[in-house]
């Protein structure tokens, strides 16, 4: 095989399946390993479904099995009943995430475009500041921000979780700037000659072309906000305002001292928390791949 490879003339077409180098050939051992690893990684997920489908008696007796034995599908409708404000949690999650995504998409495109295309004194220095802010951990600003929002009377509202997103963030500015830099500048120069102003260029020419990077930013923001636990924990103390990520935890922490938390319903909540993420990833993975690779390697060098 090896000699056949080296003697093949460069122009000669050899089917790629015949040219698999030895290091890339799979063995029964690699299949066995992959099957075992995948199975082990999936056990917790199957276990969650099993718990979500179990009856209240099983919960109280704590006799869960990994493979589902009972199928109480009504648990999925029960959580929307009156005993738990699960539909409220879900709605809050949607409101907060939608606001955050809208804010990031609107602001990041504009700022990123400015840094990539418009010329102004002080721009380069400002961009170094953008990059530098990526290194500041959010814990440093957490306490003063809390005090600021407390002064504004925004504690126990959605606003502290949504409004900061309308001011973009360094990572997203960087992503858009890198993306715009790769677009040919003749397009906007031509538009300029045609008499379109800077905002017109952004609105009519840039925005449609920015769709992939803005979708990626939307997905990043959605994933981060949807799963965010610490932000809601700091700012929201009213049960009716909590998003799902906090609500699920809240249910387990407030049940009666002698009674086990309703684990089956908690796990239904966890599934409701997870499913949209799987869906979003499935629908948007090609955008994520593109951004991860280009953003990732550019960030290191």
């Amino acid at each position: 095989m090896a000699t056949a490879l080296s003697t093949a003339a460069p122009g000669q077409h050899v089917r790629s399946t015949e040219r698999v180098v030895r290091a890339k050939r799979s063995t029964p051992f690699s299949y066995a390993t992959l099957i075992i690893v995948s199975a082990v990684l999936c056990v917790p997920l199957v276990f969650v479904i099993s718990i979500a489908l179990s009856s209240d008696q099983t919960v109280n007796a704590n006799t869960f099995t990994i493979i589902p034995r009972e199928f109480h599908w009504e648990n999925f409708t029960r959580v929307f009943g009156t005993e738990l404000p699960m539909q409220r949690f879900l709605l809050n999650s949607v409101i907060i995430s939608a606001g955050a995504v809208a804010g990031q998409v609107l602001s990041s495109g504009l700022v990123g475009y400015a840094f990539a295309r418009l010329r102004a004194p002080g721009k380069n220095a400002l961009f170094i500041v953008v990059i530098a802010t990526m290194m500041i951990p959010s814990q440093i600003t957490m306490i003063p921000q809390f005090l600021l929002f407390k002064e504004l009377g925004w504690v126990n509202t959605y606003l502290p979780l949504i409004v900061p997103n309308f001011f973009s963030n360094a990572f997203n500015v960087f992503l858009v700037r890198q993306f715009v830099s790769r677009l040919p500048s003749e397009i906007d120069e031509a538009a300029m000659v045609d008499g379109l102003g800077f905002f017109g260029i952004y609105r009519r020419i840039m925005l449609p072309m920015l769709a992939p990077v803005l979708i990626a930013i939307g997905i990043f923001t959605l994933t981060a906000t949807w799963g965010d636990f610490m932000g809601p924990l700091i700012y929201l103390n009213d049960e009716s305002k909590m998003p799902l990520a906090l609500g699920v935890q809240y249910i387990t922490s407030t049940s009666q001292a002698l009674q086990a938390p309703p684990w089956n319903l908690v796990m239904v909540g966890s599934i409701l928390l997870t499913l949209p993420m799987i869906l979003v990833y499935y629908l948007g993975q090609r955008y994520l791949y593109e951004m991860d690779i280009s953003g990732g390697s550019a960030g290191v060098k």
């Binding site: 030895r22 056990v43 917790p44 102004a120």
Partner: protein, 295 residues
């Protein structure tokens, strides 16, 4: 400057204004405030009392819990990040062999990383229960499993286990990078008689070092800021054996209203992250391989 250039500059600052305002209001202002607060004793209701460097001195010389949290955070980061990367690399290499059903395996390995952290914590609360599936599995091999989250020796390994469950995130990135390695390198190595193991260590790994390095830095920064798992699963217990920096900071600030003390912790956390990032960059010259440097 011409009219046109001046107008362009104006538009630049107009377009960039969301970030500039956000930077001043949500980052620069709070950072300066944080420095000041860290030098005071303040419960956020009464007037702050200036104490100078007292908070820092107390943290570093007179607070065994802070040192314990620092050690735990370090332990967690030092084990979970390299372990996750090694497992991620190992799985990526397996997937990179021409296996059938690669997409299926890749999806199954990646699935855990899509589960939000709160849900992951809920799942592991059950998985790691004293009579949970993990201990059942250990029981099959005759090993009496510990009560993970309730024992101070086992609580950190338990949290590491939770983080390793998400090793698939690195796998997907590394797999994408592996596809980009020129196959000529492998063919040449094969002609020279190098086996699969040798090829893995001499071609795959060196070619991937930039991605591994990126994951290492991001992983370390993330691990030093671990919060949700600890807060939900253990609250830092038992006996502070799983207390880490951010949950400690959170408690000081929002349970005890020690705003000054908590701000000082946040700056020390920043210093720790900075030191480790710098160390990683320092050593990078020795092991991270950039193709462009050679040419």
């Amino acid at each position: 400057m011409s009219m046109l250039r001046r107008r362009e500059a104006l538009w630049f600052y107009l377009f960039a204004s969301p970030w500039i305002i956000g930077f001043v209001v949500f980052l620069l202002g709070p950072m300066i405030a944080s420095v000041y607060i860290s030098l005071t004793d303040w419960d956020s209701f009464t007037a702050p009392k200036w104490v100078g460097l007292d908070n820092y001195v107390r943290l570093l010389t007179d607070d065994p819990i802070f040192w314990k949290a620092l050690w735990n955070t370090f332990y967690y980061a030092a084990v979970s990040v390299p372990l996750g990367l090694v497992i991620g690399l190992w799985l990526a290499n397996l997937l990179n062999k021409g296996v059938r059903l690669r997409k299926l395996f890749r999806t199954l390995i990646y699935l855990p990383t899509l589960v939000p952290l709160v849900a992951t914590a809920m799942i592991f609360k059950m998985v790691l229960a004293p009579s949970g599936p993990l201990n059942d599995a250990l029981g099959l091999f005759g090993i009496p499993g510990p009560s993970w989250l309730l024992e101070s020796v086992w609580v950190k390994p338990a949290l590491i286990l939770l983080s390793v469950w998400g090793a698939g995130g690195a796998t997907v990135l590394l797999l994408a990078a592996m596809k980009g390695i020129p196959r000529e390198l492998y063919e040449a190595a094969e002609v020279d008689g190098a086996g699969p193991v040798r090829q893995f260590w001499s071609i795959t790994v060196p070619q991937l070092t930039p991605i591994i390095f990126f994951n290492l830095i991001m992983g370390l920064i993330g691990a030093f800021q671990v919060f949700s798992q600890v807060y939900i699963l253990t609250k830092g217990g038992p006996d502070n054996a799983s207390q880490t920096m951010v949950p400690l900071l959170f408690n000081e600030a929002f349970s005890f209203y020690h705003m000054g003390y908590a701000s000082a912790i946040s700056w020390l956390l920043f210093a720790v992250i900075l030191v480790f990032t710098l160390i990683a960059f320092r050593t990078a010259r020795r092991w991270v391989f950039y193709e462009t440097e050679v040419k």
